[in-house]
Structure formats: structure tokens, C-alpha cells
Symmetry: C2
Subunit: 335 residues, 2 copies
């Protein structure tokens, strides 16, 4: 552990925003460095409440988050926002270069926004997001919002860290439920029908209710907990209509988020949740470490070039090649 | 290798569609069985030309593919379609239950559609897609279309198998380029401005041109080939406006696809491409195998329960836990 990291971490713990930003860049870019930093930071975490927010493009996510953040600021909360959605205009850093919308919060000094767009591989992205959450937690954020684009398995992976998952839908967008459905729906705690002033808001609510009824049988909980436990202590997803421009129903939303937090604490779900989160996180780190090693091996090894030639000529198939590599590594006997 | 699989495979090679469907289900559901089947099927592959087609929801992908498929049928091609997009109405099996749109092709007996929606994990999905491609290849498909939703790293992974990658954009959808941008753009061979009858088609073409110019410096090729080789033998992405309803410009599109195929063959890019595809595929299999083993280990082991408790109390961090597991497995010394 170099002196540089130690200094950054002690400044992070004092609430220095530049050190937070620097440490996040460090953990994002290199898992070896991430390891050194997180092993020091970890004991200072566990205070932040993590919200996962997702929704298809067009659902008004950024205005929604802006409004929500204003409400949290009124409660004197310190807030961290992690944008995993590459199209997010919240920082837009990576793609749109427009930091204007959230600027008023920046200057208030209690909102920290970070875009994780385009950071390497998926496994790497989920891992980097987890580590960024930890740094913002140690930085003293009361609430950490993780924003994703909400289509596909990657989000499910990223949302394993969230205490409360919010999914935004809008009236009249016929296929948004379909888009969101694949995997995200099962882990949603609160459905938001945003842009409630548009026609069809109530129909959208009915669609969600219908979908939830259809899926009651296999919906358990956030984190693959013990099924019996989860069945008894099951959170019934709530549906809230909001207008992010006027702020309508946001007080109600804050209450429901608080209610979900209470549910997690009172039922003890939060302890199981933490356990399953640790499992999934360790798994992510393990997979990522092993993947990196294997990739390096495949790129470097002469023996593997020969195997590739055989597969190219179709005298060997890719599965047999994978098995040969497992043998070469002596991995088999250790499992 | 059981007799059942052998019989299915020999019927597959004779072009029996039910055997194809059955074998795909088998490889999808179980990597152990996939291994047995693919090791027999692999030597019969290598004839199909693989098209990757993607586009944001609303870009008219299904009508586009329907029209494209009709053109291929006119050329007496046998076509396989793999829908990785969970929202795809092409089969819609998984989510919408509507197989109507493509039915006319079904009945002609030379189009086979398969939805891969919601099949397990991402790594598993990419792996299952690769294996499905191989079965359709051995089944005798001349052309295999892989359809995805086009946002995120998962598609990049899936498209590593495609010879030619088509991305659909539409006039007036402001943010579709932004959505597609993250990773997909770099591997696109042909940009389609679909719904060319809508206002703004030419502006969309300019936007694509602009984006391509911006990215010229880091755009190399489909498959992380040797950079120098790729620089010399670089395909300049083409842009084609289409109207999927009238079929306008589809002849032109077919010519450009043929031109890209010729490019791959004449430059020898296709050989490098195959090599890099084998690498990435073996890597996928290896990662998937190791992941499964690690997941099983983490779920079963008592020793790991104890580590989790330590992390829960924050007397250990997840990275240290991952390292302990690597040690327990004796993996370290083999790398």
C-alpha cells in the first residue's frame, strides 16, 4: 500500500471530494489497485442506503432523479449518483458532454455524480460499480443512486447492490414493460409511472398490476435468498405515479422508500441481503480475476496457437480446446 | 455420447427441422450436454454466413428482417434466425407469444426462427447463441441472422460470431446513435437508416457520417485482429437507407452485404476473423465452465460461510475473501 493511496483514503474519510473522484478513477481502471484501495476502505462502509433506478430511454429518468435528489437535499442528505447508463444526460460526461442539468446540485456540495459509461467489460463494469459504491459510502454519502439503462442481465447484476430498486415506466410507451421485463421486473421494489400527466397513466398502472399478478408465483426477492424465508417476508412491489417536473407525488415516493427500508430492517431481510450481496460480489471479483488470467494465457501461449489451428481446420472443437486448457492449467483436480 | 444424441445429429445433418429444434434446446439448457453435441456437430460447420442485426426498440427491426429474409428466400437460401432480443416480435415466443408475422416464412420450410430470450446468464447466453449458430450451420442454413437489442456489451460479445454486422437507426430518433454507440458502433459494417420515408433520413445519414469521422482513429475491425493488418485491410462502414415496408433499397443492401463478404475473403480478413472467433469462443466456454464451478463451490462450502460472516462484520473485505478462495482452490500456482 503506497503512501499516495493512504493519503487519498484518509482525505476521502474526511469528506474530500477530489480524493473521492481520484480513488474512483483508480478502482475503475485497475482491479489490482482496486483491491489495495477497497481492502482499506471497506471497514468504513455500510452506512449508505443504495437505490437502483432504471428505465427505458424516454422514461424521463434524469429529470426524475434530479427531482428526487432535490428532495433528499431538503432532508440534508449527502448523495452520490453513479450513472451506469451510457446515455444518461445526468453527467453525460462520456457521451454528451453536458453537465449542466445537475449543476445546481454540484455547487451545493452534497451531491457527487459519477458516470461509469463505457468502462471496459461487463464483469468489469459491475465490479467497478460495486467498488465505486464503497468509496462513496466511505466518503459519507447517506444515499447512493445507481442509474442504469434497464435492459438486460447486466443491470440485474449491478442491482444486486441496491437496497431498493425503482423502475420507471411511462404512459403510452407500449413496449417499455416488455423491455424492462427481462430480469429487472423480478427485482423491482417500486414501480414508477413517470410523466403521470400524459394520457394513459392509469392504464399503465393496470398493466403493471397485471404483470405482477402473472409473475407472483416466481417472484421471490432481490437476492436469491432462501425461498421459504423470502416467501414469508415478501415485499409487495408498490406502484407510484409521479410528475418529475412538478414534483407531484414525490413526498409519497419518499415515504414508500422509507417503508421499504423499514421492511428490510424489521424482517431481517437486510441481513440475508447483505450475505447474498457479499457472495455475489466475491463471485464477481473471483470471476473477473480468473477471466483476466485466462485471457492473458490465451493471448500469450504458443501452445494455444496450435490448438487454435486445429480448431480452425475443424479437427478439434472449441469445447475440447477449452478442456485441454483446463488440463494444461491443472485446474480440474482442484475443484 | 448417447444413441439419442447421435440419432438427433444424423437427422440434423439430413435437414430435419425437429431435430434441429430439439438439439438447440439441449445445448441451451446444459453446457455439459452442449459439449457432447457440439463436439460431434462442429466438423459439419463452416458453411453459413452469419449476419448480426441490431437496433434500438422502435427502429423497425422485425419488419426489416422480414423483408430481408424474403429477399434471401428469392435467392433460394436457407435461413436461420436467432432472436437474442427479448422484445423481438419475430417469434416473440418468450414474451409476446405471437409467431404470426414470420409465419409465411415458416411454412415455406426454409426459414427457422429461434428465440434465445431469457436464457440464463449473459455468459451463458452468448455461449448458447454460439452453439445454436453451429447447429443451424450444420443444419444447412446458408445464412444465419442473429438479432439483438443493441445496447451494451452483451451484444458486442454475441456479435463476435457475425461476419457482417448491421445496425438499424431511424430518422428523428434523437438518441438512438447515443444508445447504439457504446461498443456496437465500432463493430458495425453496415449502417441502415430504416424508415427512410420519415422526415430526417438524410440528417440521420449525416449524423452517422459525423460519428464515423469522429471515431476513425480507434475503429479498427470486427475482431481485435492485429492492428497493423486491420489498418491496411480496413472495411469502411457503408450507410444505406431502406424502407422495409416497400422493400426499397434492399437490392442495394444485398449487394453491399455481398461486397463485404468478398472483402473478408479477398483480404484474408476472414481467416484472421475465424482465428479470433475461436479464441473468443473458447474463452467464453472456459469462463463459463470456471464460473459454474466457482458458483457451486461458493454455494456449497462451509468454509465460505465463515468467510462471509467475517466480511459481514467488516473484519475482512471481499477482495481478501476472493483471494482466500483462490488459495483454497490452489489455482494461483497454476497461472
Amino acid at each position: 500500500m503506497s503512501e499516495k493511496y493512504k493519503r487519498l483514503i484518509s482525505k476521502l474519510l474526511e469528506g474530500d471530494i477530489r480524493s473521492a473522484a481520484r480513488l474512483i478513477t483508480l478502482v475503475e481502471n485497475d482491479i489490482q489497485i482496486a483491491e489495495k484501495i477497497i481492502s482499506q476502505v471497506y471497514k468504513h462502509t455500510g452506512n449508505a442506503y443504495i437505490l437502483g433506478i432504471t428505465g427505458a430511454p424516454g422514461s424521463g429518468k434524469s429529470t426524475f432523479i434530479s427531482t428526487l435528489v432535490k428532495k433528499f437535499i431538503e432532508q440534508e442528505k449527502k448523495i452520490g449518483i453513479i450513472c451506469v447508463d451510457p446515455t444518461s444526460p445526468l453527467t453525460g460526461g462520456a457521451l454528451l458532454g453536458d453537465r449542466i442539468r445537475m449543476k445546481q446540485h454540484f455547487s451545493m456540495g452534497n451531491v457527487f455524480i459519477r458516470s461509469m459509461a463505457n468502462r471496459g467489460q461487463l464483469g468489469g463494469l459491475a465490479r467497478a460499480t460495486e467498488d465505486t459504491i464503497k468509496i462513496l459510502d466511505a466518503f459519507g454519502c447517506d444515499i447512493i443512486i445507481v442509474e442504469t439503462v434497464g435492459v438486460g442481465q447486466s443491470e440485474v447484476d449491478i442491482f444486486k447492490s441496491a437496497h431498493t430498486v425503482l423502475v420507471l415506466l411511462v404512459p403510452g410507451m407500449g413496449d417499455d414493460i416488455q423491455v424492462i421485463k427481462a430480469g429487472i421486473m423480478e427485482i423491482t421494489d417500486i414501480f414508477i409511472v413517470n410523466k403521470m400527466d400524459l394520457p394513459g397513466a392509469d392504464r399503465k398502472v393496470s398493466e403493471i398490476v397485471q404483470m405482477l399478478e402473472l409473475n407472483m408465483n416466481y417472484k421471490f426477492d432481490n437476492n436469491n435468498l432462501n425461498e421459504d424465508f423470502a416467501k414469508i417476508n415478501r415485499w409487495t412491489p408498490e406502484i407510484i405515479k409521479t410528475n418529475s417536473k412538478t414534483g407531484e407525488n414525490f413526498e409519497n415516493l419518499l415515504e414508500v422508500i422509507a417503508k421499504h427500508k423499514e421492511f428490510l430492517l424489521e424482517t431481517g431481510v437486510i441481513s440475508n441481503y447483505l450475505k447474498s450481496r457479499i457472495k455475489s460480489e466475491t463471485l464477481k471479483i473471483l470471476k473477473y480475476k480468473l477471466s483476466q488470467k485466462i485471457e492473458k494465457l490465451i493471448d500469450d501461449s504458443h501452445a494455444i496457437e496450435e490448438l487454435i489451428e486445429e480448431v480452425k481446420e475443424r479437427s478439434m472443437d472449441p469445447y475440447s480446446m477449452a478442456n485441454k486448457i483446463v488440463q494444461m492449467l491443472g485446474i480440474e483436480e482442484n475443484f
